[in-house]
Amino acid sequence: MNKFLRDTGIHMRRNILLTLRSPATVLPNMIISLFFLFVYQGGLSGIANMPAFGGASYLAFILPVSVVSAAIGGSGGAGQALVRDLENGYFARLLLTPSSRLAIVLGPMIAGMLQLIIQTFLILCVGFFLGLNIKAGFAGFLVVMGLAAGFGLGFAGYSVGVALRAKNAQAAQAGTFVFFPLIFLSSTFVPLEMIQAGWLKVVAKINPTTYIFEGMRQVLIKGWETGPILQAFGAIGLLCVITITFAALSAKQAVSRD
């Protein structure tokens, strides 16, 4: 176990170093997410005067969208790092060491998760700068960070799974794109009750992203209430179980000696 943690740490550290050396892989996505925050806040904040918002600040309402879109956009990084290793032969080099096989795959996933935690922190900082006030206080801040971390791990798992199967960079990037619609088929811009189209309402109710939005909004706008927070963590737990199983199965195939 000790060796496993040590190996995971070594692989994680390399992947963090690589991310820091290629800021271009992180920055555009980060900028787009902040851009979302600015334009939605600037253009749509008037609708927060409608009764359905219950007097909420639109900034607090839209911030989770920025966080989630940053997470989805940034989650491809872990998979792409692995594809790069597969392509330049370094993956085989790692398999030739006594390193734990699982650690080789987990290292980039954890590095990817850390990247998303930092992104979320930065988005929150910008939010504070724009006047964000978290209703549930520091505990609420931790909930948002925790949800983002879980979401990050879940998506990193997915991207690693796709990367190990497809073994090429384009597919790994395209794979995460599948999740972009999830952001918008949800209570993205207005509360669930205000969604007009019946089909969208149904889709939004199935979409796990909705529960993540609702959980974050709960602590940002209304204050501490266990129900929605648990639902959000439940949705993320489910997402993580599915994607990490997928990653593990793909990894098993990729390191197989057959």
Partner: protein, 325 residues
Amino acid sequence: MAKGTIEVMDLEKTFKGGVQAVRGVSFEVGQGEFFAFLGPNGAGKSTTIQILTTLMVPTKGHARVAGYDVNTEPDKIRLEIGVALQETGVDPKLTGREMLIMQARLFGMTSKQAKERAAELLGKINLLDAADRQVGKYSGGMRRRLDLAISLVHKPTILFLDEPTTGLDPVNRFAIWDEIRDLNRQNGTTIFLTTQYLEEADQLAERISIIDKGKIVVTGTSAALKRQIGLDVIELTFANVIDATTAVNALQGIGKDVQRQDTHLKLYAENGALLLADVVRAIDAAHVHPTQLNVAPPSLDDVFIQFTTNSAQPQASSVTKEVIV
């Protein structure tokens, strides 16, 4: 079998699509030996190396590396072997030093030990100046040297090199040769090398197996392999066909075989230089004079071509010959 040895019995590898890359290969490599697999592209060299280095399991047969079974004890084998694969396994975004340190850490060294080992190896392969540059900016030769150094971090007892100099210019090739020769002679490291270059096998290896289409065609020392084809060639060229025909008759009984093509004669003999006097006397007595005369020893090229082209025929491929020195 002890450390530093390789033992392979009836090894076979069939890929999922049905391609048979390795079809029943057997050989042994002793501790401290320098052994080479020589063969064209697609002969099964890389597949054999991937099996022996624990990246792949064989479809059939057995292999033991450093005394451990490749099927059941890959972890133990990984601690004993160093591997430089055909595709250099380097990360272009890391520096040479970082890569060496990371490799050392994965082999269980402490951070301090890893740093020391990295510095030591960088000095040895003459890369201290470039140590803190990203590998993506290295030249092909520097990358190969670094790759070799990475495979040596944990002081392996057996080193596997899959076409270590393919695509390198002569200067870098000779530098790599010197490095691996030293490892073999000074540290007693067992070396298993694959190559497409006859010269490389000839220069470095104590024993060579020629492999073609997944089978070992012949195994022996470079000298023994040359002797296997056996014959020097005395080449004579005459001014006209009449002279050449006269010469053929005069040369009967000298050497093993005389062949004429137009004005050109080829006389095959076991020791061409010793027979040269007889040849000259015989044609002189027949009053014909060659315009050109030339004695050529067999090259490893002749051996290679002879065995790889003949291996399609049953008598050469069904019997694996062991040539004794």
